[in-house]
Symmetry: C2
Subunit: 240 residues, 2 copies
C-alpha cells in the first residue's frame, strides 16, 4: 500500500508543516491540499523540519474529486460518530487489514475547525475513526495524521532486533549455573529445588533473550568461582 | 493499565500544551514534568485547548527518580537504536502486550533536542521505539506521545458499532432476491448461476453487515417488483 495524504481546506500553515514532518517520519511523501486556506510560509517550513521536500512537492487542487482521481481507494477520517453509513467507521487497525493488498490509498482529513462534511465522506470508500475518550474526541490535525500513518505503516519499519528469544537449552544452562552457585553456598537440595522452579517460572514469564541469558550466566559463574575460592582458601580478597 | 506521561526537561511550552491535549484525547490525565526548561504560559494553554485541566494538575519534579517512585513499571522512549540493552527496544504493540495486566505505568519522553540519555533509559524497565522511516526518525514530541497513547489505550475507546456482520442466512436471502430479479429479467439459469456465484464471492470478500444487506435487499426487491409490473401491464410508468 502506498499512501497519499489529502488535507481538505487546512486552516493553519503550521499544521501543514507538522503534517509534512510526520509523513516523512513514516516514509509517506505524497501530500495533496484541497483549497488550502493558508499560504504555506515560514511557519510551515519551520514546523516541517527535515521534511521541507514533502511541503515543496505538495500538490494544490481545487476539488476533493481531483485529489482522489487516480487512487485505488480513499479513506475518510472523522471524529463524529453516528448511525449513517458515512459515520459508521472502521478502527485504524481494521482499515490496515482491509487496505493491506491495495495499491495507492488516499487518507483524507478535514479542516481543523469542522472536519469532513458528510458529502465529502461519501466520496470515499471507507471511514476511519481513531478510538478516543468520549470526554474529548477532537484531536489536533497532525496528531491524527501521526496515529493513522503509524498504524498503516507499522509493519514496514520494524527495527532489526539484537538478540533472539533464548532456547529451552540455554535457559537450562542458566538454571544449572544458579544451582551450582547455591550448592557452593551450602544450600540444601529441597530449597535449591524450590528456587530452581521459581527461577524457571520467572525466565518463562520474562521471555528472555539469548543475550540476557548470557549476561546472567556470566554473573552467576563469576559469583560461584569467587564463593568456591573463599571456601578453599579462606581468603576474602582478589579474583581466583 | 493506568498511564502517567513523564516529560524530561521539555524545552518548548507549546509542546507541553500539545502533549496535554493528546493525553486528554486518549483519557490519560497524569502529567509529570522533570526540570522543565520553559515556563508553562499562554502558548501551552492555547495548545492544550480543552485539556487545560491536565496542564494545571501537572506535577513538576526535579529528578526522574521522583517521577517514577510509585509506578509499577516505567517505559523509556527512544529514536536511537543500538545493540546495548538500553537501545534494544520493544515495538509499541509489544509494549502493550507486556504491560496489559500492569497497574500504573510511566511513559517517559526525553527533551526535544536530545532525547533520553542512556542513564535515564537504564532507570526504566523497558524501552520502546516507534517504527519510523530510516530516512527521518526524529518525531515531534507530541506526535510520539500521540502514537504511543493511541497504541496503549486502543482497546479502551472502541466505538459502539451500528450493524453486525451479516449471517450466511441473511446473505442467502439477498442472493435469492438477486436471482428473482434476474429471472424477472428473463436471464437463463446458466448465467444466473454464474452471477449468483460471483455475487456470493463478492459478499464474502466485502464482509458486509446486516444493515448493508438490508439496504441492497430493499433495492433489489423494488427493482424486481417494477420489472414484473412492466412485464404484466406493459406500462413503463409509476410504482406498482
Amino acid at each position: 500500500m502506498e499512501i497519499r495524504v489529502v488535507l481538505v481546506e487546512p486552516k493553519y500553515d503550521g499544521n501543514v508543516g507538522h503534517v509534512a514532518r510526520v509523513m516523512k517520519n513514516f516514509g509517506v511523501k505524497e501530500l495533496f491540499l484541497v483549497r488550502p486556506r493558508a499560504e504555506l510560509g515560514e511557519v510551515s517550513i519551520a514546523r516541517a523540519m527535515h521534511a521541507v521536500d514533502v511541503l515543496e512537492r505538495a500538490r494544490i487542487v481545487s476539488t476533493l474529486e481531483e485529489a482522489l482521481e487516480d487512487v485505488e481507494a480513499a479513506v475518510a477520517t472523522t471524529a463524529v460518530l453516528g448511525s449513517t453509513p458515512a459515520r459508521n467507521p472502521l478502527t485504524p487497525w481494521e482499515a490496515r487489514e482491509q487496505l493491506a493488498d491495495h495499491g495507492k490509498v488516499a487518507l483524507v482529513f478535514g479542516p481543523e475547525d469542522r472536519g469532513l462534511r458528510t458529502w465529502e465522506i461519501e466520496l470515499c470508500d471507507a471511514t476511519v475513526f481513531i478510538p478516543t475518550s468520549e470526554e474529548y474526541r477532537s484531536m489536533n490535525l497532525s496528531h491524527a495524521v501521526a496515529v493513522l500513518l503509524y498504524e498503516l505503516t507499522k509493519d514496514e519499519h520494524v527495527p532489526e532486533r539484537y538478540g533472539r528469544p533464548a532456547t529451552k537449552r540455554e535457559k537450562e544452562v542458566l538454571v544449572g549455573a544458579l544451582d551450582r552457585l547455591m550448592r557452593a553456598l551450602g544450600i540444601d537440595e529441597v530449597r535449591r529445588g524450590n528456587v530452581r522452579t521459581t527461577f524457571r517460572r520467572f525466565l518463562a514469564r520474562a521471555r528472555c533473550t539469548d543475550k540476557e541469558v548470557k549476561a546472567l550466566l556470566w554473573i552467576l559463574e563469576k559469583a560461584r568461582r569467587r564463593v568456591e575460592g573463599y571456601s578453599r582458601s579462606g581468603d576474602p580478597g582478589g579474583d581466583p
